[in-house]
């Protein structure tokens, strides 16, 4: 150790990862007590005790490991082995540690220093995306590495927030479920490039891997293992973010959750975590306490720090997918129930108060306000013209 693995081992590891049908578990077994170069030679010769896949010997004998390594070098992807000093220290000794970790960007971004994972659902509400973005930004500003999975929704918002605090100490780290040259979902490719430039994008599947169902839950264990604390922002019952929380709990890593409306399906999982005893997160201060960067019993931060005009990073992410929400999320009035109705008239006030906290469909608004449809239409569109609400297809929410 110390000097790192030999080029032959790196090339062998790169070649092994790319074998057809290779999984993290099989790879770990292949490299259990073999050096990568030896394991590769044994697989190619068909004499590795764990190398039973009938396809492997044929593929391996026709593959030159050095050429594979060159391909990774050309793509700017580092091949990290646990013996490499740049391999994340948090993963060394982890029971589910990837035997080979691929890295786009700065391999040392993930360590040392504190790291917090921000995870959650792909179909997030504007509330969840705002909270994730604020936490990402504030944690990055506080020098904490933000770890996430580059999925839609919470993941993307968290990293967009972290990137918005660019130039400060905390660096974004992403763990992808696809090959490092396959940004997925494609709408996140700019964000993907931004994270790779400012920090690192990690993966355990080879270049060119398409999105596969099992790969995303598998990478969740790496997200959990890389973090000091896992923050679940918004999550449905049985959602994928709960897998991350479970992986963290098994490793003794604290899980904290952002409370949400009891009516919102997107907050059922997180509210359930709170019931199960996870600490609630109100703002970045609670997370910093959990990572021991701040002391409990602190004063609440001034409102300005929480609700400052949010940078364009989230706006960019959101506007690419949400035609009904131009200009990105403004967090100022997001707190449920607050704020006077910006339009005169009782119908408008009824609509405004019914929209506190969560978006509602037109039918739900009609039921909540009891207004005749003519008046409801007039009130909604009046609020829309005043810029106070946003209209989606069949639903409305406060801006």
């Amino acid at each position: 150790m110390g000097t790192g693995p030999s080029p032959a081992d790196v090339a062998g590891a790169a070649a092994l990862v790319g074998l057809p049908g290779m999984t993290p578990v099989r790879l770990a077994r292949l490299l259990d007590s073999w050096r990568p170069a030896e394991a590769w030679a044994a697989v190619a010769a068909g004499r590795h005790p764990a190398g039973r896949d009938p396809r492997w010997a044929g593929v391996a004998s026709g593959t030159e490991p050095a050429a594979v390594a060159d391909r990774y070098r050309e793509a700017g992807v580092e091949v990290l082995l646990p013996t490499d000093p740049r391999y994340p220290a948090r993963l060394v000794g982890d029971p589910g540690a990837p035997a080979v970790l691929l890295c786009l960007g700065d391999a040392t971004a993930a360590w040392p220093g504190p790291a917090v994972a921000i995870v959650g659902t792909r179909s997030a509400t504007p509330y969840g995306e705002q909270v994730a973005a604020e936490l990402g930004r504030d944690l990055a500003s506080a020098g904490v590495a933000v770890v996430s999975g580059l999925a839609l929704g919470i993941d993307a918002a968290a990293h967009a927030g972290a990137l918005a605090a660019a130039g400060e100490r905390g660096r974004p780290v992403a763990v992808a479920g696809t090959g490092l040259d396959v940004p997925y979902p494609r709408s996140n490719s700019r964000l993907w490039a931004g994270v790779a430039a400012a920090g690192a994008v990690l993966a355990e599947v080879p270049l060119g891997s398409p999105p596969r169902r099992g790969a995303f839950p598998a990478r969740n264990r790496i997200i959990a293992a890389l973090a000091d604390v896992v923050v679940v922002v918004e999550c449905h019952l049985g959602g994928g973010a709960l897998h991350t929380a479970e992986a963290a709990a098994r490793r003794g890593i604290p899980v904290v959750a952002v409370p949400g409306s009891v009516r919102s399906a997107a907050s059922r999982g997180t509210n359930g975590l709170l019931v199960d005893g996870c600490a609630p997160v109100r703002d970045v201060g609670d997370v910093l306490v959990a990572v021991s960067l701040a002391r409990a019993g602190r004063e609440p931060p001034p409102p300005a720090a929480r609700s400052g005009g949010f940078p364009s990073a989230t706006g960019r992410v959101r506007s690419s997918r949400a035609p009904g929400a131009p200009g990105g999320a403004r967090s100022a009035d997001a707190d449920a129930g607050s704020g006077a109705c910006p339009v005169d008239g009782a119908p408008a006030a009824a609509v405004w108060s019914a929209l506190a906290g969560e978006p509602r469909t037109t039918a739900a608004l009609a039921e909540a306000t009891g207004l005749p449809v003519v008046e409801l239409a007039r009130a909604c569109r009046h609020l829309l013209r005043a810029g106070a609400v946003v209209e989606g297809p069949g639903w409305w929410r406060r801006r």
Binding site: T121, T125, L152, E234, E358, A364, P393
Partner: protein
Amino acid sequence: MLASIPSAVLHGVDGIPVAVEVHVSNGLPGFTVVGLPDAAVRESRDRVRAALLSTGLPWPLRRVTVNLAPSGFRKGGAGLDLPIAVGLLVAAGELAPVSVDGLAFAGELGLDGSLRAVPGALAVAAAVAGATVVLPEASASEAFGAVPGEVRCASHLGELVTRLRAGQPLRRPAPAPVVPDTAPAAPDLAELRGQALGRRALEVAAAGGHHLLLVGPPGSGKTMLASALAGILPTLPPPVSLEVRLVRSAAGLAAEPGTRPPFRAPHPGASAVSILGGGAPGLRPGEISLAHGGVLFLDEMGEFPAAVLDALRQPLEEGRIRVCRARATVELPARFVLVGAMNPCPCGEGGTPGACRCSAASRARYGRRLSGPLLDRFDVAVRVERPGGTALVGAEGGEPSVTVAGRVAAARAQAAARGVRTNAELPAADLDRLAPVDGTARDLLAAEVGRGALTGRGLVRVRRVARTIADLAGEPGPVGSDHVEEALLLRCRRDLLLGGDR
């Protein structure tokens, strides 16, 4: 010995006159039917023979040739049994030709000589104008009083022959029972709790003849709403009522006179022919024709085969469906209000952001099940919700259907004064003349088009719906901004089906 008996066969919903010519001559005993008979007609030889023998009449042991004229098109159905039997009796000398003079026959024979009902008796009776038509007792009442000619009936071949031989008058059928209009009652709107938006959408759809799309999770009452629509549509005017009876009669359903608009809800698994009409050789009317004058409800619309949904576009446009087959083409009436119901997304929970967990790709796939051109036919679309607790137990029921139907009828009368059947048929080119908008409404619409929320085609649909809303409000003047605002709220947008939050 030759006899020619007038009859008719069913083609779509129309009867086509057929002369049944029977020739009996010496020669090797045999029985041949020519003139493009289908399998059911060829089988009539055996039914006729058994019926004659059971009735105590002789079967001529001579050469029998039956010709169905005109011979150019294929004739189907068992309704030719009776004319063949009567023709045979006349040609064989068992009946005097004068006794069947001026009579036409249609009906199916049982082996015991009894006369069985035939589908489309109404159309068949209408086709043999000029003659007195003799029908089986079971089908005669539906034709009685609905056709210009005389209708007589019999229940058994023996009875018929006895009366004809004796020169006795044939029986008149009993008039069809008048079914009270409350019989297959649609659910009353008063039974619906909550659903203010869905209720209003129904009223607008009924008043303007606008096709309606209901999007909502399972259990949100889409089916209930759709079936309540039939209860607020205006009653059928006599010509439409007759068309409805013709279609029902041709489909072999009870065809009593009535003015209640039909409600048909075919299952997504139904075959294309059963929904659109067709089938050899009579080209039976399908569900869309049975819905003529009323409501066609397609629940789980995305589950219907794409070919069926696309074939709906022509009837939605023209109010008729042309069923074309290699040998024949028929036009069937099919002017209905289409009510489609769909879940917002595969999991059914979509609506507001965060509510649904389907992936964007699966939602997009689901939304694509309705093609753009079909979605364009829906003027009104609303998301409906499961009613909340307060609405379900609230003491206050909604407005009853009678009140709403009154407004609908008044609104339709205003549309009729404009020279169109319904506002949904207002021609796009004449909107400024027939349905002008006032200044503020014009500015509002221009602003919506300006911000890209309305396309040209969407603008036309919003203006038609706004006119209907103004008619419902009793507003004779130009369409105002309030009406336009409501029409905008009720308009159909493609993204309603894409889960809504992406």
